[in-house]
């Protein structure tokens, strides 16, 4: 560094730098549930409306059709969140407590051209009334005035503003695919020990879906029973995130193909700031 500000923490890790934007909390609240829809003959019923400006999308009664095929059938669908200042680099953190999460996913809306909304991260989970925070790179939109401390980059772009709300993202870890497979196949319970006690921590798992295994149980009609396995996680105590298997049996009118898919899972953990 030839000029600027450099602060190292107790471990010699840069607290800030002069090139990369810090992540700030852009949006927060409680997840809102939608009634689970019945399958419609046409596949999709209108379930959303566009109120005119980015960030003002609201859900209509009926929920989203997508989960008819995909998620555990006992879960409620949650209204996705697209904050007005969203970006494709946002991540959604949930304060699970001891609630079990079987589905949390982020996708980037990519509807332009034609719909007038920007590319932005949208988070969906299956748990109602769950505290969430959307963290993303700071932009000039989040700039404050008055007292405090700001850091700007070479091009004058805002990199840090002490008046913004931050998530103290302390740790990340990967759950390897082999571990996921062991949970799915054998029902193994995996406890992830956090390096420190982090009560009521905020957890992001950007792609927590498709960790599943499906198996035909009965091969004769008219009803076909289909065993589905998922992996779910929860913070069972201040220092432990637990992963375990959830298993459901579903009835279908047509036979399904046995398949399995899993992948490494990435977690971010932020300490709770009361």
């Amino acid at each position: 560094m030839t000029y600027g500000l450099e602060i190292l923490n107790n471990y010699g890790v840069p607290v800030f730098d002069m090139d990369h934007p810090c992540l700030v909390v852009k949006y927060s609240g409680l997840t809102q549930s939608m009634a689970r829809p019945e399958p419609s003959p046409t596949g999709f019923a209108p379930q959303w409306e566009f109120a005119g400006t980015a960030g003002s999308y609201v859900a209509l009664p009926g929920g989203m059709a997508w989960d008819i095929e995909r998620g555990p059938s006992t879960d409620t669908m949650i209204k996705p969140v697209i904050p007005a200042n969203a970006s494709p680099q946002d991540t959604v953190f949930y304060q699970l407590g001891t609630t079990w999460c079987v589905y949390a996913i982020e996708v980037v809306t990519s509807l332009d051209p034609g719909f007038g909304i920007p590319e932005a991260c949208m988070g969906v989970t299956t748990i109602p009334d769950l505290p969430f925070k959307v963290a993303g790179p700071i932009t000039d939109t989040e700039a404050s005035t008055g007292w405090g401390m700001q850091i700007f980059g070479d091009a004058g772009e805002l990199l840090f503003d002490s008046n913004c709300e931050f998530l103290a993202i302390r740790y990340s870890f990967i759950v390897p695919q082999a571990v996921i497979d062991d949970i799915l196949a054998n029902g193994t319970v995996v406890d992830v020990a956090l390096p420190e006690a982090m009560p009521e921590c905020w957890i992001a798992c950007p792609i927590w879906s498709h960790q599943e295994y499906g198996l035909d149980r009965v091969g004769a009609g008219p009803t076909y029973y289909y065993l589905r396995r998922f992996v779910e996680f929860s913070q069972v105590d201040a220092s432990t995130i637990r992963l375990r298997r959830r298993q459901t049996e579903e009835a279908w009118s047509t036979p399904r193909t046995t398949f399995a898919y899993s992948h490494d899972a990435i977690f971010y953990v932020a300490r709770n700031i009361p």
């Binding site: 923490n9 059709a65 995909r70 494709p88 680099q89 980037v108 719909f115 949208m122 995996v190």
Partner: protein
Amino acid sequence: MTYGIEFRDDAGNLTLRMTEAMPRLIHSQKFAWNYTGTLAVPDFDSDHGMFYVSPCAYSGYFSSPGFLERDNRTFASALAGLFGFNGYCLPSLSWNDETRVMTIAPATFPPGWPYEHRLDYFLNFIALNKRFSL
């Protein structure tokens, strides 16, 4: 704290302490679903960071000309449809710590996978306090 820097919010809560680092976006880039190649991110330190994929939801399909008229769909149904066929597979990513280069290959479908979707995606690199292994 004996020395260093702290930040507190207006309620007096400690929001940054000297055992932490501010999470930062190191690099973000969008890739086509069939991209094969490498990506160098020299500023990314995997000991103190993580990367993840954010799939793009059906840009090609929903933004195609005449989509609304052809299928008699509304914006509402289109947005709902973002997840309508979300059985997608993730790309193959391999990070080399020494060279700080990511090798990228398209997703491959597992046997019996009942879907056919491979999506464009963002690859985001985040710096944070510490990464640990299971």
